[in-house]
Amino acid sequence: TLLYTIKFEAMCWFLILAGACLMLILALVVSKQLKVSNMMASKTTKLKAMADSWSLDVPMVPFDPSSRINSEAFEDMRDRLKRRIVNDNMEDSEGIPYGIPPSFINTVSDHLVDVFDISYLNNVLAQFKHFKTVIGNTNLHFIHMAGNEGSVPVLLLHGWPGTVWEFHKSIPILLGQGYSVVVPSLPGHGFTEGPSVTGTSPCVMACTFHKLMLKLGYNKYVVQGCDLGALIGAVISYIYPEHVLGLHNTLNHIHFGWRQIVQLVVGTFYPKLVYTTPQEEAFINPISGMELRMYKKFAYFHVQTVMPDTLGYGLVDSPVGLISWIGSPLVLMSAKNNSPAHWRQGLQSFGIDNVCATLVIFWAMRNAQASMRLHYEFYWNDREYLEHFTIPHVPVAISNFPNEIIHLTKFTSWRTFNNIKQFTYHKEGGHFPHLDNTEGVVGDLISFIQHNVSSDSG
């Protein structure tokens, strides 16, 4: 009985200690959650107050893109390309492990020098009505095409390194359905100059674009976003949910949580149970290679969140630098496995004229360097906020394309989006589906609007 008493007492102490530990952990978790909620609420309040302080009375002035996409800028670009210095010293030039091979640089250079015609670029852009206005600190360019009376307005958001050119095939299709379409150029991209002050982060851009819609008289609208545009669209849905009729994304946003862990563990043993496509599985499995894969995938992101200007000088002064740093993502993010080995396929999918149009716009506007600052602002200003937001009610549609850079399952997407109404997979297309699978992405958007979005555009 003595031994029994000792055992019993030991067990009691053990239970008390375990209970105390559990209480401590619980208290820590709850206090952390409270801290996070407070941080989210206070930042949301600050952002809304900042946005409300912006005057919406600045007039919207018509803008002609050809005033900047002129022969002076293009001839300067061609001239520099004719005198380009491009090393090509490796025995296995095509198979270099160090980045995009020189054959890519030379292929695009030759096309710009010998084939590309800016009148094609200007004629396409002239189909649409362009404007400039000032909202907050942003001297904003945007396309606005009014559709049928009372129809759903659609806000299209590109990302990095994009321009409004990305949507030149999609806009006519949407207009054909009677929708009103608004397409802004992100700060530092396309025809919006880089901001002259710091702080223009994705959250600030979200507020800017929402205020733009209000200024145009659209109280409620649908948002479609790619790359950072998808993230900005999600932020608009988070801050102004009562204004967003629906959110359609092509790039899924990574939010780490218990779902990822469950999926990771189950997916190691029963991948078929968890992953719908080989790309979804390859994104995670094999886990042993994941660290290196992520290290390689996000090298550009790391440097752009720390010193965008440093690497940007070569992009503004040299069309070769521009082709390399801006041109290669366009092509690699459209390529199978996003691999340099498939750059030719990526170039064909994205379209060499689309690559050239994008590069000519960045060259003429001289804002490639400024474009990368939004990664810096995202990392140092918005990171924590964007780790924790969720979209509980706004209807969401996600379109998955095989050559996209991030592949998340519907299961993990529920972490961020609690009202997923549409989740589609396509057999073709990559990071820029508006260019390499226009019917796929626009078809999804129209279907989403018709079936899941009320046309109460207020």
């Binding site: 090393n87 025995e91 440093t310 040299s318 070769v320």
Partner: protein, 448 residues
């Protein structure tokens, strides 16, 4: 219940056993990696050593091309206070260096200065090596020195040090790092720092120097460490300006004690600040490793703009010279810090290095060493130990890493000299050449 301690004890023993097993497998793997490297080096045939004139690669036309492009440069900050830009190199810096190159810099000075030395070229395996060779006097014949620079430096780094050493009668061999300046970049992948270490070792043997002293900075320190690790019998002494000894239990213990009693553990403020405050360490590492990350993954994509544009070259390579030579004081503006760096490194030294980089078009290839290091040599560095060869470390205040003598003992078993200086940075041969040469000479005197 009673069995609990046994279960826990058993688990701990199992973990220890597994760790030991992993370590043994690792050291076995490492030894076979080193053996493979040595076998490869042994298979390299001796090739001719040819005299070389750097002026043949430093054409006036190349320099004119550089200044022409600079005169037509496009630099558009899109920002209202360029001197305070948090986004990286300020436009003010780029314009100041560009103006100096186009208006004041005398390019012929580079050829004149380099022409005072005897240059040679040879091929070791897949590696094309340019080097300066100075033959000293009888007194110092037993301690020839190999000087190793790193990234993004050139042989210009030693243009003051070599005369100082020559004057004292030392024999000096100073190679250009592959892919930098006059050492053409390899035409095949795989030339990592460990392979370069073998090539440098082979070069010294070919020149008749069976035993030698190594003095290096940046990648030169890394390669010097590797040479000493793989060929300890060849190295009389190892002198580093960049300390890479950060391994084992010592840094952890030091950090713990240093959080509470910093004066017990850190000799200089820089040593203290390089770790504390711990709350800022993650952000500081994130910022500090950005360049390493991009250069170890896509150096070529990054580099196209630096070969085609002298503005791109100044923006990154030029900036690095100044940034690594200043105190990087966060209470000052970025431009104030860079002005200090320009003063320390010397505007003409910046321009000389940039002119060599431009004329040899090596900026892009120079960064490949980061890729090759990351792909091949990380484990070697993590397991490097130099138990017996005498080591000297020279500590300069504006260097990028500051490691205490206590922590260094984790890698070096025989630290003969550990000096601190009040002036100088990452490129000590440019901004405190007397101190670094004095340290080297004093070290040789101790170990000869």
């Amino acid at each position: 219940m009673v069995g609990c301690p046994f279960i826990v004890g058993g688990l701990i023993l199992l973990i220890i056993f597994l760790v030991c097993l992993a370590k043994r497998n690792k050291s076995h793997k490492l030894q076979s990696q080193i053996n493979a490297l040595k076998d490869k080096a042994n298979s390299w045939e001796e090739t001719e050593i040819l005299a070389f004139d750097p002026a043949s690669q430093l054409n006036e036309s190349e320099f004119k091309e550089m200044t022409d492009r600079l005169k037509k440069r496009i630099v558009v900050p899109h920002f209202n206070e360029p001197e305070k830009s948090p986004y990286g190199t300020p436009a003010t810096f780029v314009n100041e260096v560009a103006d100096h190159l186009t208006e004041s810099f005398d390019f012929s000075m580079v050829k004149d200065v380099l022409g005072r030395f005897k240059h040679f070229k040879t091929v070791v395996g897949d590696i094309h090596l340019h080097f300066i060779h100075v033959v000293g006097n009888e007194l110092h014949a037993s301690t020839p020195i190999i000087l190793l620079h790193g990234w993004p430096s050139t042989i210009w780094e030693f243009h003051q040090s070599i005369p100082l050493l020559r004057h004292q009668g030392y024999t000096v061999v100073a190679p250009s790092l592959p892919g930098h300046g006059f050492s053409d970049p390899p035409t095949v992948a795989g030339v990592s720092p460990a392979v370069i270490a073998c090539a440098y070792h082979k070069l010294m043997l070919q020149l008749g120097y069976k035993r030698f002293v190594i003095s290096g900075g940046d990648f030169g320190s890394l390669i010097g460490n590797l040479m000493t690790f793989m060929f300890p019998e060849s190295v009389i002494g190892l002198h580093n300006t960049l300390n890479l000894a950060q391994m084992g239990w010592r840094p952890l213990l030091q950090t713990l004690v240093g959080s509470v009693l910093p004066s017990l553990v850190y000799t200089t403020e820089q040593e203290h600040k390089s770790v504390h405050p711990l709350s800022e360490l993650k952000d500081r590492m994130y910022k500090g490793m950005a360049y390493f990350h991009v250069q170890s993954v896509i150096p070529d994509s990054y580099g196209y703009g630096m070969v085609d544009s002298p503005v791109g070259l100044i923006g990154w390579i030029g900036f690095t010279y100044a940034n690594a030579s200043c105190s990087r004081d966060s209470s000052k503006t970025p431009m104030e810090n860079l002005r200090e760096g320009i003063r320390n490194f010397g505007i003409d030294n910046i321009c000389a290095n940039l002119a060599i980089f431009w004329a040899t078009r090596c900026a892009q290839a120079s960064m490949r060493i980061y890729y090759e290091f990351h792909a091949n040599d990380r484990e070697l560095l993590e397991n490097l130990s130099i138990p017996e060869v005498p080591v000297a470390i020279s500590n300069f205040p504006n260097e990028i890493a500051h490691i205490t003598k206590f922590a260094s003992a984790g890698m070096y078993g025989n630290i003969k000299q550990f000096t601190y200086h009040n002036h100088g940075g990452h490129f000590a041969h440019e901004d405190n050449v007397e101190a670094v040469v004095d340290d080297l000479v004093a070290f040789i005197y101790k170990i000869a």
